[in-house]
Symmetry: C2
Subunit: 309 residues, 2 copies
């Protein structure tokens, strides 16, 4: 079996993780978390999202977080921006790379960003152009690639159409998101086979959620297809807004464990990453879904009946 | 990618799961659990272990459980037996297939069954012979194939030597156990490549633990090597005696989800299996590690600080 020798992990916990946690972290804790992450060997951290705080109040201090974290040379600090207003804040905060996002299913796009897929393209195009004029790389997330919480199956053609448009705009890399954690290795193979007929492999990163335990199997399939960039989240932070109690992003520590055991280099220190995850687990106040973190902390699993039968 | 069309799942939750749970289940609950499992489409359930109750008090009612469950035609009811005394009870209980077990690492074998590897063979040989004379199939578990909690790495040669001896005895199938949940797909490939030089693929089943989240990735690798039999546990029951708070066996529901999404048939109804897992989760009184079960029950994850803060 041929696997890549090196993989880049993009840590999205401070953004994709925290935006889905019920517990609100203090600004100090967010800054401390990102500072810990900057010392693990990670070279890419998506630190926040510059969205309207009305939508995601958990990240309403994004500007302060971005300004006050320690910037470690060699680490790219990235953030999500939905529109020009968000982009302005990201530029003000000296963010190096911005990400835009949309869905490959009409209903999810409508519910998530209040526009049709067709109406989303011109808005993103404007953001991409202005970001590029400001000298920023732009990354694009496509959600619901492997299934939509409203529509179920999403056709490969939808994904291809959205990818075409985003790449036309000059987006450097597309992160293919398994928003509801429904992907199987077979689906990964089908989607990637289709995309790779049109584009080189380095245009794509994979963004798996471990909602049904399949995340690392999907990573393995992606590696076999040649993918070398994966998104993950410290501790497996963040749940699934469509499945209460379910797991969120694949945990960075579990991903690291598998890659390193397979002889694939990431440049990240597993123990330091576990310490960052342990810190955030203590602050969040619940056992995070990361399997490796539970081994590391050696904590007996909490009981279902919180505070008495 | 070539995957098998059909896979057999051997449900080991009532034995391997329950023997590692702190909570003791009532005999009635065990019987109810097995009766639920018998109606999911599973055709193989390892229902208990006939070991000395001093070692595993959680399973001290094994004889009663085995006698009182409803036997559904087409389902094989199996049990673990360490020695002739255990075999006698299994025969008395009309168990159809018995499993013997040993380790591929000297220290784990010594600590687990109080004998050297060399001294274990004659004991097992006697059990296998008598079981066969009684018309029973015998299955063999090899523990610590992918790592030992005491010795760390286990050499492939150790595994081959133990497999050779067990197959010589007439054991029908060997279940290769990742006792501490440390395996990676690369290791799976190496071990299986070595064993398949000597034996046909249908001599082996894989028994993964999801301690570090890699279980389904290891399943995928095994499928690619041609394996068609996997052990798993309802709800991911059972922890790891060497890592407090860690996950146990790969959850049957997560395995089913992945296999079915890949178009691989198992004959098992996912929803019925989830209902069996939900029943046992409620009786155990803690959130079980199965990801799919948490989606199914939609239960918010329990807090870390039980009753405090």
């Amino acid at each position: 079996m041929k696997w890549p020798a090196n993989v880049q992990i993009k840590e999205v916990g401070p953004r994709d993780g925290l935006q889905n946690e019920k517990a609100f972290l203090s600004t100090e804790d967010k800054i401390h978390l990102i500072n810990l992450m900057s010392r693990t060997g990670l070279n890419y951290i998506e630190i926040t999202s510059f969205v309207n705080p009305k939508w995601i109040p958990a990240l309403s201090d994004s500007l302060e977080v971005a300004k006050r974290i320690e910037r470690v040379p060699g680490v790219t600090y990235a953030a999500l921006v939905p529109n020009l207003r968000g982009l302005d804040k990201a530029i003000e905060a000296d963010i190096e790379e911005v990400s835009v996002f949309m869905s490959s299913s009409e209903t999810h796009n409508q519910k998530n960003i209040n526009k049709s897929i067709g109406d989303t393209f011109p808005v993103l195009k404007e953001v991409v152009q202005e970001a590029q004029m400001a000298g920023k790389n732009v990354r694009g997330y496509i959600s619901t690639v492997f299934g939509c919480p409203y529509e179920g199956k999403v056709s490969v053609n939808n994904v291809i159409q959205v990818a075409d448009k985003l790449l036309e705009m000059g987006i450097r890399e597309i992160s293919l998101g398994d928003t509801i954690g429904a992907a199987s290795p077979k689906q990964v193979q089908i989607i990637l086979e289709n995309l790779l007929k049109r584009y080189p492999i380095d245009k794509f990163a994979m963004h798996f959620h471990d909602t049904r335990g399949t995340a690392l199997a999907n990573v393995l399939m992606s590696l076999e297809m040649g993918i070398t960039t994966f998104d993950s989240s410290a501790g497996g932070l963040g749940g699934c807004p469509y499945a209460p109690g379910a797991s969120g992003n694949v945990a960075t520590e579990d991903l690291l464990y598998m890659l390193h055991q397979m002889g694939i280099q990431t440049g990240i220190n597993e123990e330091k990453q576990l310490e960052a995850a342990q810190f955030i687990q203590e602050r969040i106040g619940r056992a995070l879904p990361s399997r490796s973190l539970q081994v590391f902390t050696g904590r007996p699993a909490p009981t279902v009946n919180e505070g008495g039968e």
